[in-house]
């Protein structure tokens, strides 16, 4: 058992190691990504300052808390965007799925570790953005290690939920070989219902209820709201339990759907 685990760690570790290497292959990507994100930060702050120009609070949140929450959401947004849909769509279209399935690895586990590596890498690459937000707009981060720990657990659980959710949608591609439309819908819904555009607290009750039932907020609003001080650490056990519930349901469903989808896979091209 331990030797199997060591063997798997080595194999999946090798997969993880490709992520930064591939990303750094074109240094212009990194510079462009920083440039675009800094522009986005400037626009975001200007927009919310305009929204708050005639009011002190919206949905119980003041300007500083809102901006702090949204900046943190930008820095840690990678947890919510798993890229799995895009990857599966591409693989189905160009037939690379055949090569992926030929590796002696569980495909879902492989893409989960790639997703984790992407999340870590994107978060690391957000450090200059965080520095800019701190210098320009006074981004505030908590000092309490317990808050960071609570955030990290919620982020990992939420990301795992979103990964399984995206995996289920991605499996539709095994039947249709085309999931571009679905992925646009998924990312649109994700942007709005995850709390990346506006904090869920600002939504009317009925919309907030929908947003809290949908899985999108699990990997962004829930963890980031802890960091931004919107949710206290004392609320965490309840939040983790909810996240675990979502994770169990989506994990089981994703394994079942994937198992069936593999039976209908078509490898495009000769």
């Amino acid at each position: 058992m331990i030797s199997t685990l060591k063997r798997d760690l080595r194999a999946y570790g090798a997969i993880v190691a490709t992520v930064p290497k591939m990303f750094m292959a074109y240094s212009i990507w990194v510079w462009m990504s920083w440039f675009v994100q800094i522009i986005a930060v400037v626009i975001l702050v200007a927009f919310w300052r305009a929204v708050f120009s005639n009011t002190a609070t919206v949905g119980g949140l003041d300007l500083d808390t809102t901006i702090n929450y949204l900046l943190l959401g930008m820095i840690f947004r990678a947890g919510q965007n798993t890229d799995v849909l895009y990857e599966i769509g591409e693989m189905m279209r160009d037939g690379r799925i055949g090569i992926t399935l030929l590796r002696p690895l569980d495909m879902q586990a492989t893409y989960y570790v790639i997703n984790l590596a992407n999340m870590g890498l994107n978060t690391l690459l957000s450090i200059p953005i965080a520095l800019f937000a701190w210098l320009a707009y006074g981004l505030s981060l908590p000092n309490d290690p317990l808050v960071w720990l609570a955030f990290l657990v919620a982020l990992l659980l939420g990301n795992a939920v979103m990964f399984c959710f995206d995996w289920i949608i991605g499996c539709v591609g095994f039947y249709s070989t085309e999931i571009w439309g679905l992925s646009v819908l998924r990312y649109g819904f994700g942007l709005f219902f995850s709390g990346a555009l506006i904090p869920l607290d600002m939504m009317p009750d009925w919309l907030r209820t929908i947003a809290s039932v949908l899985p999108f907020s699990q990997a962004l609003y829930l963890p980031v709201s802890i960091l931004a001080g919107i949710n206290p650490v004392s609320a965490m056990p309840r939040i983790w339990l909810i996240q675990l519930g979502y994770l169990v349901v989506f994990l089981v469903a994703s394994r079942l759907v994937f198992g069936r989808a593999l039976r209908v896979v078509t490898v495009q091209g000769g």
Partner: protein
């Protein structure tokens, strides 16, 4: 080692009318047609064999290979590879096989070859000492040394194929499927790759299933061939047997001074090609002779030039693709 019994694969292909109207119609009322890519194919391959699997484009070669590797599920029939169902036990099967798709890369486009091979080695759990030994072996046999620091995206087609072969064999698989490994390569690279395949088969006893359109690959490497046509296996036997069986036919081509109108084909000959002022005939040398066939043609029309082609594998296969096996059955 590999056993296929009544292997069948049916694809459901979207059937769209042409144009924007067809695309819109397919959106609301999608239609599908069924295409049988492989039908009731049965064969068994023993350890250490090199088997050529040949057929025209769309005959079902790649579909069969994909079912043998476990990435496609057969619609009917059974396949066992090393005693396993390759689809149900995909991961275990993947550890024992290696696959080269000539038109698709398993390497990481942006990584240097050395890094790509290291990744593959780790994925397949090749220990460090064995990995180093194989790298130095491949560096010599596939002349990889100068390629190791180069990213795959900067390699030529021939260099990429050598790199693919190294990546496929770095875990010393017991079975290797090579799907058109020499496609688009120049003669020198082809020869190097053929020599390499022959060597790993002889030295390590690796079983090789080779699909190719290049009959040079087949002649150089395979004693046994499987021929598939329209999804149906039409021949499974030794290369020598079909060469002998079809070797009695010869081809003769005439270039004439005038257009070929109303020409009588000599007894014992069949028309292979007829157009403008060129006529190609095939004749059975046990029934007639080149001199008789050419005399008959020359008596009817002025011949400027003629050429006689001795039977080679390409002729044999051409005859088989044109239904030769059905005719002689």
């Amino acid at each position: 080692m590999i056993e296929a019994v009544n292997l069948t694969k049916v694809y459901h292909i979207p059937d769209k009318d042409p144009g924007v109207r067809g695309a819109v119609k397919a959106l609301f009322r999608p239609r599908h047609t069924s295409k049988t890519a492989v039908k009731d194919v049965s064969f068994a391959i023993e350890p250490g064999e090199i088997v050529g699997y040949i057929g025209v484009n769309g005959a079902g070669k790649s579909t069969t290979i994909k079912m043998l590797t476990g990435i496609l599920v057969p619609t009917g029939g059974q396949v066992r590879v090393l005693g396993r169902d390759p689809h149900r036990e995909r991961v275990a099967n993947a550890r024992d096989i290696g696959v080269v798709f000539g038109q698709r890369s398993q390497l990481w486009w942006d990584l240097a070859l050395r890094e790509s091979l290291t990744m593959v080695g780790r994925i397949y759990e090749v220990d460090d000492a064995r990995f180093q030994r194989l790298i130095s072996e491949f560096s010599e046999t596939l002349e990889l040394k100068e390629l190791l620091p180069i990213p795959i995206r900067n390699m030529s087609l021939g260099q990429k194929m050598r790199a693919e072969l190294a990546a496929t064999l770095i875990h010393e698989p017991r079975i290797v499927y090579l799907d058109e490994p020499t496609i688009g390569l120049d003669l020198l690279v082809k020869e190097r790759i053929r020599a390499f395949i022959k060597r790993i088969n002889q030295e390590k006893g690796t079983t090789v299933v080779l699909t190719t359109h290049d009959l040079g690959d087949i002649e150089e490497l395979c004693r046994r061939v499987l021929i598939i046509d329209n999804g149906v296996l039409i021949y499974d036997g030794s290369l020598e047997t079909i060469k002998q069986r079809f070797g009695k036919y010869r081809e003769i081509t005439f270039e004439t001074a005038a257009d070929l109108n109303g020409l009588d084909v000599p007894t014992g000959a069949d028309v292979l090609e007829k157009g403008g002022r060129t006529l190609s005939l095939r004749f059975d040398r046990t029934q007639t002779s080149a001199s008789r066939v050419s005399a008959s043609i020359m008596s009817q029309i002025e011949v400027i030039d003629l050429s006689l082609k001795e039977p080679d594998l390409s002729m044999v296969v051409k005859q088989i693709y044109q239904g030769g096996l059905k005719e002689t059955a």
